[in-house]
Amino acid sequence: MAQALDRLLPQLANGDPALTRRGRFLDVTFLLKVGDSHYLIHIHRGRLEAIEPGPHVQPRWTFALAASQEAWETFWQAVPPPGAHDLMAMLKTGALRLDGDQHPFMANLRYFKELLALPRAKPEAA
């Protein structure tokens, strides 16, 4: 999943009208770290305008979210186990690290929780 993130995430985000509407006042660039893979993600008016995979030279971002590849893979399971199922839960356990100016992240918390959960596998039909 992590390997395909730069292709998948813009598709999923921009194909979700409820998400892009929710983010209509949001303009921000943030850094997503999936283990050693880094992605610079540009949001403009709620749309994921561009995602630049690293390595980056002098990247500029407002905030950064970092977790190991394993932590993200667990978060992206269809039904993640307790503690790995939510960004705030992962912040509490220390699996996720949040750096930089947290204001846009907190002011748009639902947006970011839902954006980053988009790669989550759909529960299999029983």
């Binding site: 039904v79 907190m106 639902r110």
Partner: protein
């Protein structure tokens, strides 16, 4: 002409109760359904008594229990006290204990069962210390002796972040991922409707004032039985926190509930009632 169908009223009846608390007159919203043993229900921080809607609509429970839920001052349909506009709301252990006892007195409840969730799960521990003889049994949902803050509570109340949006988004993860969408989003909506600073003011009790770690040994479950129910997805009050609580209180009975989070009665009532019914049955048939 076809006959007008009967209105689809639910069982609960709501009324406003005048009450003196902390030297001020309060107007509290109280809802109830059923007859029998009084079951006084305490909502979580920043929410209100609607969290107990499923209990009030469960005929098997209301057949034996008078289910009562009130909104704490500042919450739901209860008003903040006169002069609120220049005060910072901060819930304290003393005010909370006093409020629960005052409501029980005002309603003339004789040894009710008291069930609280989160801050309510904390206050039942304080009630077990302060007035065990006043209760037939205590039930702590998502109950821990203390909670360390894991984010800066100031985010919950500042003019450049929408309070309703951030409170709803903050607690959304405390709901189990398996919860039905309708109940999940109803639970989140209650948080989005909270007054400015109220959730944060409740968390003052939850993370600071209400710390009861030093007094757990004094709780006597022979004077009043204590039941604990904690959801496995709760990362605010974790199953480990509740296990530690149960370990330190002799006679406390703990069940960890798979596929539930921090708001069991509201996020997935059908699943939760399966855990609650045997507890209520034990309480009802004891002695």
């Amino acid at each position: 002409m076809t006959a007008t169908p009967a209105p689809r009223f639910e069982a609960a009846i709501g009324r406003y109760l005048g009450l003196e608390l902390e030297g001020q007159t309060h107007r509290l919203y109280v809802e109830e359904a059923g007859t029998g043993i009084a079951l006084l229900c305490l909502h979580t921080a920043g929410s209100d008594g609607r969290q107990f809607r499923a209990l009030m609509n469960d005929a098997a429970i209301t057949q034996h229990f008078r289910v009562i839920a009130f909104d704490l001052p500042w919450h739901g349909k209860s008003s903040p006290p006169e002069g609120w506009q220049d005060r910072e709301y901060r819930l304290t252990s003393a005010a909370y204990v006093n409020c629960v006892l005052a409501v029980a007195d005002a309603l003339g409840l004789e040894r009710p069962v008291c069930m609280g969730c989160s801050i309510g799960g904390r206050i039942v521990l304080h009630l077990a210390l302060a007035a065990p003889q006043r209760f037939r049994a205590l039930i702590g949902l998502e109950s821990a002796a203390h909670a360390e803050p894991y984010y800066d509570l100031n985010w919950l109340h500042r003019p450049d972040v929408h309070g309703g949006e951030v409170c709803g988004a903050m607690i959304s993860g405390l709901i189990a991922p398996t919860a039905p969408a309708r109940e999940r989003w109803e639970t989140i909506w209650h948080y989005m409707q909270g007054g400015p600073g109220v959730f944060k003011g409740d968390l003052h009790f939850y993370t600071e004032d209400g710390d009861v770690r030093g007094r757990l040994g004094e709780i006597n479950t022979e004077a009043c039985p204590l039941y604990l129910l904690t959801g496995e997805y709760d990362y605010s009050c974790t199953p480990a926190d509740s296990r530690e609580l149960a370990r330190r209180i002799k006679g406390a009975k703990l069940a960890v509930m798979p596929k539930l989070g921090h708001f069991p009665m509201s996020e997935d009532p059908a699943l939760f009632l399966g855990y609650l019914r045997p507890v209520l049955e034990q309480i009802r048939t004891a002695r």
